[in-house]
Symmetry: C2
Subunit: 146 residues, 2 copies
């Protein structure tokens, strides 16, 4: 089972990363040093949370940015991390065999890793990723830099 029952990271699409980041920081949550102006990462107790521009998130997922009509609909993706590119490709193949839709074949990413994207039957986006920068526990939890 390469597409294992676990979740490493949830990405929320936001209109303004700085504004979204401020909300979570006002709760007392600490932003990871891996954050940039384009993406904010928070290490939660059991999962990582990312805040990323909604348009950038849709493009990264292999989806067309929506027209104005649905610009207000919340956008998100679920990521599960793997130990290497082969495991990413196997997980993508399992998702397709189970009835998922391929949005993006496994490929190198701009951030130095490898990923591919599928959608479940309701269009929920799952990213399968190998990220050499974030240590990965056996249960799929990743360790962000503090």
């Amino acid at each position: 089972m390469s597409f294992y029952p676990g979740l490493s990271l949830i990405t929320l699409g936001v209109a303004d990363v700085a504004r979204a980041r401020s909300f979570y920081e006002r709760l007392g949550w600490r932003c990871s040093s891996a954050s940039t102006p384009e993406v904010a990462f928070f290490q939660l107790n059991n999962i990582a949370l990312a805040l990323f521009g909604r348009r950038a998130l849709l493009i990264d997922a292999g989806l067309e940015p929506q027209p104005d009509a649905s610009a207000a609909a919340p956008v998100f993706s679920l990521s599960q991390n793997h130990g290497g590119t082969g495991a990413v490709d196997r997980a993508l193949a399992e998702a397709l065999a189970a009835g998922g839709a391929l949005l993006k074949t496994g490929q190198a990413t701009s951030w130095g890793g490898y990923h591919g994207i599928i959608a479940d039957p309701d269009g929920h986006v799952w990213e399968m990723a190998w990220n050499p920068h974030f240590p990965l526990a056996p249960d799929g939890t990743i360790d962000l830099p503090t």
Copy 2:
């Protein structure tokens, strides 16, 4: 910090619970015995996943079901569980103080617990819940019945 940095459950809004459940079961994931025809629960390694009708999810979150135009937009919610109703109310108050929008005040639920709902500045839905049926670990992870 009542609104702690952790996530107990993610709920995905689906058009057909049985169809959505089948997809995840074909991956080899095991459905919890807490599941019903209306909602399917999966215990993942580090979090719980729920599949729930998209219209029911919107109503439960205190949101209007969308008009046809955006009926295809994926819908989801993030839940964080607490040890009691007082902690739920404190977490809701913290979310509002940080700039969140109240969608539903803390109240008893049909399933025998207590919850309230807020939205972050981008409309992402957070449920704060007390569920006496699901044991809760200190990091926010819940244990579904197998």
